[in-house]
Amino acid sequence: MLRLGELERAVMDVLWSAPGPVTARVVSDALSDRSLALTTVLTVLSRLEAKGYVSRMRDGRAHHYAATATREEHVAGLMHEVLDTAGESSDDRSAVLARFVGQVSREEAEALQTALAEALRRRPGGREVPTE
């Protein structure tokens, strides 16, 4: 038995690779190697719909499901949340996510290159400094 989170991932993967909206039956067939009951797939789909990741449309008697955003759009949204520290809500953002390194200026980037060369000199076998 898979954890719910993994089931949600698996179902989203099916929806993302499908060419268009699909029925729950198609999703469950695509996941046939996991031998899931159709009701399980329906439960996961409705959970994902409640969270806003999946939209449901009626087509005749069958419900069709589609992802509300592509995987790339989701990743872009995450990166926007992480990188957008210059926005109005910068204090909120930095409270939410701690980034390893923030944004740097050109001068600082150059100083960092010098420091990197110094760090690598002390560490035989490290990768070369990228040349530009």
């Binding site: 989170g5 949600e8 991932r9 989203m12 969270k51 990741y53 995987r71 790339e72 989701h74 990743v75 872009a76 949204g77 995450l78 990166m79 949340e81 992480v82 990188l83 520290t85 210059a86 910068s90 204090d91 909120d92 930095s94 409270a95 939410v96 996510l97 701690a98 980034r99 390893f100 390194v101 923030g102 944004q103 740097v104 200026s105 050109r106 600082e108 980037a109 100083a111 960092l112 290159q113 420091a115 990197l116 110094e118 760090a119 690598l120 002390r122 560490r123 490290g126 990768r127 990228p130």
Partner: protein, 307 residues
């Protein structure tokens, strides 16, 4: 209790104005970042308590010689159907001011806790849906994005997130060092240390001391995580990782947007390459000072002094 009230008020002013600026500019904090963090927390808590205590004591001063005594007298008066305990308008105003100030500070903090928790939960949910586990550390998630970024999404079930760009840029030793740093943030719950400073910056935007406290604390937390990571990796490996990611981040910063906390990358790299000497003396002094100011601000309203 006028005299202790005035003393507490002065303590609050000294803590918020000269003391906060001194600590924000102090150079020893890079030697003992963890002690500096504790001192910041003590300073924040003590100045808030002292300001509240001073206003409350002035307001309650006609009713007794300590806050406890005065509150008891007020309760007795309320029991007799006298809601204001015959306080004149000025004293009533001071008591209300203390209540409003207290509710605002606590309210803003609670709202900020709820809001950050919700944003983080949503972020983590999306990370779990679109990311793939990193094969060398299953608690880390990899996002397929060309920008070289490493970050953590703190919380009860925190996540460390790497991008494909970061995996491309760093070698495995450097990646491990970055992960150690991020896991230090998560396991030590640095988000909880930073949260009140962020919340009160929003609550008191006109107090520059709160703002500089916030950026100082964010910078110190990074140094603490660097130090913790260095228990598991070489200092210069972490320094190289920082420098690489920092150089790669160039261009993502629009002109003029460089925040103080983020200007510290270069300082962190230098600090890792030439570690400043630790100082047990400063460390002990910082812990003692933090404990002392909190104890003073907390106890003074409740004890009767022969003043």
């Amino acid at each position: 209790m006028i005299a202790p009230a005035i003393f507490l008020g002065m303590l609050a002013v000294v803590l918020v104005l000269p003391a906060a600026h001194w600590l924000a500019a102090a150079r020893w904090t890079v030697r003992e970042p963890r002690a500096a963090l504790v001192l910041w927390q003590g300073l924040g808590l003590a100045s808030g308590l002292a300001a509240l205590g001073a206003v409350l004591m002035l307001g309650l001063s006609p009713l007794g010689s300590t806050v406890g005594q005065a509150a008891g007298a007020w309760l007795v008066a309320v029991g007799h159907g006298d809601l204001t305990a015959r306080l004149d308008p000025i004293h009533l105003l001071l008591v209300s001011l203390a209540v409003v100030l207290f509710s605002r500070l606590v309210g803003v903090l609670l709202m900020s806790i709820v809001r950050t928790a919700r944003t983080r939960q949503r972020h983590r949910e999306v990370v779990d849906l679109v990311g793939v586990p990193y094969e060398r550390d299953r608690s880390t998630t990899v996002l397929d994005h060309p920008d070289a970024v490493a970050y953590c999404c703190p919380g009860v079930r925190g996540r460390v997130v790497l991008t494909a760009g970061a995996m491309e840029l760093l070698d495995t030793d450097e990646l491990d060092a970055v992960l150690l740093h991020e896991h230090a943030h998560l396991s030590e719950r640095h988000d909880l240390v930073v949260l009140p400073f962020n919340a009160w910056t929003a609550a008191l935007p006109w107090l520059s001391a709160v703002r500089s406290a916030g950026s100082a604390v964010r910078r110190l937390v990074e140094m603490v995580a660097d130090d913790r990571a260095c228990f598991g990796c070489e200092r210069h490996v972490l320094a190289a990782a920082l420098a690489r990611l920092g150089s790669a981040a160039r261009g993502s910063a629009p002109a003029g947007s460089l925040a103080v906390a983020e200007a510290a990358v270069l300082d962190r790299v230098h600090r890792l390459l030439t570690p400043p000497g630790r100082s047990p003396l400063i460390r002990r002094f910082a812990y003692l000072a933090a404990a002392l100011m909190v104890a003073l601000a907390m106890l003074l309203p409740w004890v009767a002094l022969p003043l």
